[in-house]
């Protein structure tokens, strides 16, 4: 379970998140919707532990463990995963090297034995096949020259291999055409389970047609201004975010 309590975050002195509280249970798929600049991506980065964000108040807990004093790698080893809106290209680092380093680092942190090369290869091959990722894509440097769809598929592949307890999908639909969106969404849906919570951040209802949420939250000016069930997303699609802008103003 991810539990965010009264979170306040500033970047370079400017307040971005202003008293946000949110709970996502194990097995729950929660969606956060909101207009540009409402602080959605900041929330995902702060949970993942990116530097340059100043948390002035509040707490973030994963299964009761406080994340705020943990490094990003420690958070990952505790079971947190972030699907990046814009996955990074890393020239010179082979995808397989990167995947192996990540999987083994997490195993090491959990005091598990490292994967042997054949075990690792088998896992990657199987997971890649499910996501239509060809072998030659795995031979290239991490995300280098990949299309938007390929990059997102690579994110889902990493999620499948790392088997997180909780994943945040930051605008997973950006840069994707309908076919790529469907493949990625199917990949995510295959990873839904009773133990795994998901937080889906998006502007649009469209993504939620593919990944059906249990709960929907509206974020505006750095806090949750309304929560409800899936019907809330449909309502927003019709009325837009204008009401909330007025309400908050």
């Amino acid at each position: 379970m991810l539990e965010v309590k009264n979170l306040h975050v500033s970047v370079a002195g400017k307040k971005i998140i202003d008293g946000l509280s949110l709970k996502v249970a194990d097995g729950e798929v929660a969606a956060i919707m909101g207009p540009n600049g409402s602080g959605k991506s900041t929330l995902s980065y702060v949970v993942a532990g990116r530097a340059d964000y100043e948390v002035t108040e509040g707490s973030i807990r994963l299964d009761g463990v406080d994340l705020l004093d943990k490094t990003p790698a420690e958070r990952a080893a505790l079971g947190l995963f972030l699907v990046f809106q814009y996955p990074l290209e890393i020239p010179g680092v082979a995808t397989m090297t990167f995947l192996k380093a990540a999987m083994n680092a997490q195993r090491k942190a959990r005091e598990q034995a490292e994967l042997s090369t054949p075990e690792f290869m088998k896992k990657v091959r199987e997971a890649a096949a499910k996501l239509n990722i060809p072998q030659d894509m795995l031979k290239r440097p991490v995300n280098l020259g990949f299309s938007g769809g390929e990059k997102k598929r690579m994110e889902i592949l990493q999620m499948a291999l790392l088997e997180p307890k909780f994943a945040i999908l930051d605008e997973m639909d950006s840069g994707l055409d309908i076919d790529a969106l469907r493949i990625c969404a199917e990949g995510v849906n295959a990873l839904r389970s009773k133990e795994r919570g998901l937080l889906v951040i998006t502007h649009y209802q469209r993504l939620l047609d593919y990944i059906a949420p249990d709960t929907v939250h509206v974020m505006h000016k750095g806090r949750i201004v309304r929560s409800g069930g899936p019907e809330l997303a449909l309502e927003l699609e019709k009325s837009g975010y204008a009401d909330y802008a007025e309400e908050a103003a």
């Binding site: 958070r75 680092v93 990540a102 790392l162």
Partner: protein
Amino acid sequence: MGAILQNPTQAEQDLLKSFSAERSDTQRQAAFERFARAGLPSRRNEAWHYTDLRAKLRAAPPRASRPDASVLDQAKEKLAPVDRFRIVTVDGYFSPELSDDLTCVQGVKLRPLVADDAILKRLAEGAEDALLDLNTAFAEGGFALEIAPEVHIDAVFELVALDGALGALGRFGRTVVVLGDGARAAILETRAESGEGFGDSAIFLSLGRGAELDYACRAQGGAAVEVQTFVARLEEEARLRAVSFLAGAPFLRRQLFISCAGANAEVHLAGAALLRGREHADTTLALTHDAPSCISRETFKYVLADQANGVFQGRIIVPPHAQKTDGKMLCRGLLLSDDAAMSAKPELEIFADDVACGHGAAVAKLDQNQVFYMESRGIPREEARAILVEAFAAEAFDLLDDEELRDLLKADLARLLARGDFA
């Protein structure tokens, strides 16, 4: 002799004195006279602006003498068995005892250099430098490796330079490698003359028509003050791929003088220098396209930690007759610390009108977004940084065609990074 130089430093006096005692041949004598007029280069000398040897070399230690049996025995212990042809020098002196016997290898000749060796005359043309002159004046006991025309050698030749005698000494190794027309070879130069003292070594490469050479130099460790000179001359359609990997030397100048003397020759050069502490490494390149339609590519990379100092000077010279020259030079620095410094000076001197030449230099820190991306996958920060540094540096080795050489350098790099000094 000494009177020619105004206000000689202690080191210059030492060097001048140490020459007058011996007999010499004409090449030696001429080189020494040039040195005696010029002295050690300082920052006032443009080619040495960032590496002030005159200030750095306070005194010149006595020259190492030919190693005796006990020195050779000790040196031998540093040599692990390898699957390569190995040619060993100790304190700059070729040691047949420690080297592999190549007499039965068809088309290969290994021999000592002799006074006024004819082979050197043409090779040294156009390489004007005080330290090369000093090497010419003082080097004894060098060797020549000659590969006959059209002979292709699959095994790698490893040229190992070891130190032998203890204490601060001057070492002046000198090596010549000749590839006849159409010959092919791969050479690994391992420079491991460490400790106190002063090193001034030179290697001369001659590539005949259509000859092809993969060359890698790994300089790990080095004398307190070390200068390495690399001179290469390529005839028509010859191809040279040369890579250097510099790490662990306190104060190193590596200078390359390369001439594309025949049309359609190709030179691919790269280097990776990983420096830490107060290490200083200077790579200075002068590449002359002395014939039409030659291609050259240069990529030199520096990873600088702590208070390390990296220098790259690259000059591509294209005289009027070298039409259709295609040259590109790039220098990239990665600063891991606020106290590290990088000086880059790429230059083009173009006198022909139909050429495609370019150069660039970029110095940056590690990309924090890439580091965070890797961390978010569970890779601890130090490890993520090491992976990025390795990727940055290892790219320099990719131009080598010889897989064994490439793998060797990559393994060396991985070992160096595993110590954690560059995270």
